[in-house]
Amino acid sequence: MRLRRVNPIKEILRPLVQLLIFVLGSAVIVSAFVLLLALLLRPTRTDIDIFQVTLILLPQVLIDGITLGFMYAIIAMGYTMVYGVLEFINFAHGEFVMFGAFAGVELLIWLNAQGILRTSELWLAVVWLILAVLLGMGVGGTLAVSAERFAYRPLRGTPRLVPLIAAIGVSFLLQDTMRFLQSAIHGDFYRTFPEFGPFAQRLTLFSLSIDGRSIDIAIQYKALLLITFAIIMLVALNYLVNATRLGKAIRSVAQDQRTASLMGIDVNRIIALTFLIGGAMGGAAGVLWTFRFTRADPYMGFIPGLKAFTAAVLGGIGSIVGAMLGGMVLGLLESFAASYFSIFSRGAFGAEYKDIFAFGILILVLIFRPQGLLGGKTTQKA
């Protein structure tokens, strides 16, 4: 732990620059690879000009990948912070995401039913969206703290397997609790994000012309908003962990619980707060996820949870910067796999294989660099 005085401006700028480097770096590398592959495959295809198709799709694939990557990064924060402090994989984190999503969606559905959401003003729609995200954060955070208090804290100090199994139990219990609540109230267990505001409109950045066809490079307000929210959250989290007293306490608990408590830090409180922060990030990510993919259902947390964990491991678990990088790389790779796999294999393999792709990456990382891309501390034992 460094006891130096921190410069707040620097602490805000640093993660911003890091994020920019990660986004641009991975985007450039992945795009270059795909374009190269398209060039190589070009002579084998007579039906379509595969290079041109690739190029036309590229901007949208990149934007999708980056938004997905940011969402993975936010969810991965929950895993990586809890892992940093307790060395424990919180399997139920995906369910905090799911509960946050439902809270946000329910609020918006209710507002919509009141007629409040019928607005074409962008800023007003954004305000309601922020409200939903805040509610999602509240619910996710509360849930995480209660899970910690009632299911994980009694098990601290037991053999490793015990809390891990309890976490799986919490995950299953929460899934069906939500399913039960939704079924009992609405008769159906999934909810759809209400359509409101001018989020689907596109902001045209510039136009390109390829072979005489003009292509607008445009970005949806939706994607722009998602990215903005994510950046704000990631920067805020970075600031919290690196530049505040609380962050210092969290880092010291992560380093050595006993010594931290000797220094007058209330370890239980810090662990609960870590869960609160992680759960709140997860809840917010849940609302953003349904904002992007429109559907909230009780089992929606599993796959993003698994992917976000992969992202955390990819970046180096326990490291916040690593989780951001891991999320970005994974989001881009997945988006590219989902779009181009089918084109390159002539439709033989569809977008369904993107999950396998993500998982393959996890295995490769574990074989060749188990400490992750940015992880210094090795997780290998014996």
Binding site: L161, P163, D176, F180, T310, I363, Q380, K381
Partner: protein, 469 residues
């Protein structure tokens, strides 16, 4: 089995001596009679199951218990099965899942490696036989849902017996391939990788209907061949005699019910023997050593990765073999069977019964399987019959009719499993029938803790007394 005799429970004292045998026999007889009268009652079925548990726990000599157990399993269950074939189906499924749970117990209980995608190996075995034991080989270029059933199969039914060892090989190979990169890392990684692997197998099964139709996608493969019946069982004389006993026509399907029930029993007994032998072998002690403290184990000369990998591969082998059996019993496989819930339900069996405890795991498997295929289903049926009527739910005053169909108890397996896992972990992490070591470990230093001394059998050595290789 004998070490469990040391029960000091007051209630169990009733079952001492010849009088105890008589009492047990009376209980079993009454249940059997009730079941014969009302073969479809859930309550009697559950009581029959408690009779089996009772036989296991009563303070009698092992030989006596064996005879009582055999009487129940080999005579009474088949007799009732003549009236209600569902009982045999339950028996078969309990046997299959108990075998699966014993395999997972080797991985999680003995070696302490958390495997959350155990069902993936089950799927490997099931799809292996589903592919070669059905007509799928002829439909490689047909999209799902476009082809009809032919009277012949590419492979004859007796190939079933060849495919059991083949499935064991395939599952073991998969296990080694998956475990090799991951097992040098800490246990949590294995959990997440196996979780992902389970998901991958499901995605593959769902999507490998193109470019070549290997799995027939979400529709699943059917019909799958069952192993050939021994000729004496399929003869018409046997059928007529049995029909006479049962009071209803007995067809080949019923005979298959008996066949699979007995096969399940044999497989389970063989598995229990193997698991017991493994537990006390040198390998089993190495597993205990790495589970308790892998650094100390390595220092004592236990080859860490090889030992872990063996546990993982053996667990996978059990699972693969059961896959073949299960596929041929159902004559149908689809990706749905191999969901995460299925993996976790096997884990729940192991945890509920007691990590590392063989009788516990079998008991856990029986309880969870009954819950899955019998109790929850019966509750669902009950609910849907209530929904047909005009009654009102007490306390809330809402008519049953208005209850959403989504509230079907059979859909809330995850709730039950989640709750069971949390409660077991917090209050009784060693399970219902704990392994001796786990009980000692988890309650050491608690108030009122008296280490129970084993009456018979050897005392397992401590991990730090592991002899060096």
């Amino acid at each position: 089995m004998s070490t469990q005799v040391a029960s000091t429970n007051r209630f169990m004292q009733l079952f001492r001596g010849p009088l105890g045998i008589l009492l047990t026999l009376t209980y079993v007889g009454v249940i059997a009679a009730l079941l014969m009268l009302e073969p479809r009652s859930l309550l009697w079925r559950l009581l029959l199951f408690t009779a089996l548990a009772l036989i296991y726990f009563i303070p009698q000599r092992p030989a006596v218990k064996m005879i009582l157990g055999a009487l129940l399993l080999l005579l009474i269950v088949p007799m009732v099965g003549l009236r209600n074939p569902f009982l045999l189906e339950i028996g078969f499924q309990v046997a299959v899942f108990a075998t699966l749970a014993l395999g997972l117990n080797v991985v999680v209980g003995f070696a302490g490696l958390l495997d959350l995608g155990y069902v993936a190996f089950f799927a490997v075995g099931a799809y292996l036989w589903a592919f070669f034991g059905s007509q799928q080989l002829w439909h490689l270029n047909d999209p799902p849902g476009t082809f009809s059933v032919y009277p012949t199969f590419p492979l004859e039914a007796w190939w079933f017996w060849i495919f059991i060892p083949l499935a064991i090989l395939a599952a073991t190979a998969t296990g080694i391939l998956l475990g090799f990169p991951v097992l040098r890392l800490r246990g949590d990684y294995l959990a997440i990788v196996t979780l992902g692997f389970g998901e991958v197998i499901r995605v593959l099964a769902n999507n490998l209907d193109k470019p070549i139709n290997l799995t027939n996608g979400p529709q699943g493969i059917t019909p799958i061949q069952r192993p050939p019946l021994p000729p004496f069982l399929a003869s018409s004389e046997v059928l007529t005699t049995l029909s006479g006993w049962a009071g209803r026509p007995i067809g080949l399907n019923d005979i298959y019910g008996f066949f699979f029930y007995f096969m399940g029993l044999i497989v389970l007994i063989v598995t229990i023997v193997i698991a017991r032998r493994l537990e006390h072998s040198k390998l089993g002690r190495s597993w205990t050593a790495i589970r308790e403290d892998d650094i100390a184990a390595v220092a004592m000369g236990v080859p860490l990765r090889r030992t872990k990998l063996t546990a993982f591969a053996i667990g996978a082998a059990f699972s693969g073999a059961m896959g073949v059996l299960y596929a041929s019993n159902r004559t149908f496989v689809s990706p749905e069977t191999f969901s995460l819930t299925a993996s976790i339900s096997i884990l729940v069996m192991v945890i509920l019964g007691g990590l590392g405890s063989i009788p516990g795991v079998v008991l856990g498997a029986a309880v969870v399987t009954l819950l899955n295929i019998d109790i929850l289903q019966t509750l669902s049926l009950l609910l849907s019959s209530l929904r047909q009527g005009n009654d009102v739910i007490p306390l809330i005053g809402v008519p049953w009719k208005n209850l959403p169909t989504q509230l079907d108890p059979a859909r809330y397996q995850r709730f039950v499993f989640g709750l069971l896992l949390i409660i077991m972990m917090i209050f009784r992490p060693e399970g219902m029938v704990p392994a001796e070591r786990a009980r000692l470990e988890l309650h050491e230093g608690e108030e009122g803790f008296v280490p129970e001394v084993r009456l018979e059998g050897e005392v397992a050595p401590n991990a730090d007394e592991q002899p060096a290789d």
